[in-house]
Amino acid sequence: MKSKFSQFFFILCCNLLLWFLLTGTLHSDELVAGALVSSIVAFLTLERTSIFSAINISFQTPFALLLYLFEFYKTLVIANFDMARRVITPSLPINPNIITVKTTLKSDLGKMLLANSITLTPGTLSVDVDGDDILVHWVDCPPDCDTQMATQLIAASFEKHIRGFLN
């Protein structure tokens, strides 16, 4: 998604979808008003939304996005049961540490999505993003864990999924 026009169109569609979900009707009046407001918003924010230019729009994009969301919710549920188990166990089985994870995603949007996903996966919380490094607080860090191992365990599967629709 390189050109200004496709970016404008993308933001317009997102705004329209949001408008449609919030109003909940398909009345022509509502749709016309929504289209008007959406175009104004998309026009005004065009300069500041270049972050979305990292998205690759192609035939496979929706499938990759769905696959990513499926993986995301699966790990979110696992994370909750994991955390519940730790909280209920009387001895509180945690061994926290802060480690570094390397990412190969280039775009800011990709890094943000990866950091968000890491925060909601079992026992990990992304603390800071600095270039290619993501600082991660890990509740149950295995002993003698290094960057490479942590990257494999925490980031690898999400990175693969995000790469499906982003740079």
Binding site: L22, G24, N80, N95, P96, I98, V127
Partner: protein
């Protein structure tokens, strides 16, 4: 159908409760953020799902609410954790038992 909605809401409330318990039990601020973020994200989404089953007309708005919670909650907790790290709060380690960094 109503029963199913209430059960899903109860599950969500249970997760929120466990998140609160985690905030009380965890030894330092980073672990508390962890317990809070995950449990409350899934808990609120489950509550919204339960409401959606009870009131099927509200689906579109509930989807928007769930999406915003899911996007903003990890960003918020990451921002808090980052500010804490910059302010020099050390994470609690198992070796230094009982000595919290905060």
């Amino acid at each position: 159908m109503n029963t199913l909605g209430y059960v899903v809401m109860l599950v969500g409330a249970t997760f929120c409760f466990l998140g609160g318990l985690g905030i009380l039990r965890m030894p330092d601020v980073y672990n508390r953020i962890q317990a809070g973020t995950k449990a409350v994200t899934l808990g609120s989404i489950a509550v919204l799902l339960g409401v959606g089953i009870l009131k099927p007309d509200w689906w579109p708005k509930l989807v928007v609410l769930g999406g915003f919670i899911q996007l903003t909650s990890p960003v918020g907790s990451s921002a808090i954790a980052r500010a804490l790290l910059r302010a020099g709060v050390k994470p609690w380690q198992k070796q230094s038992n009982g000595e919290s960094g905060s």
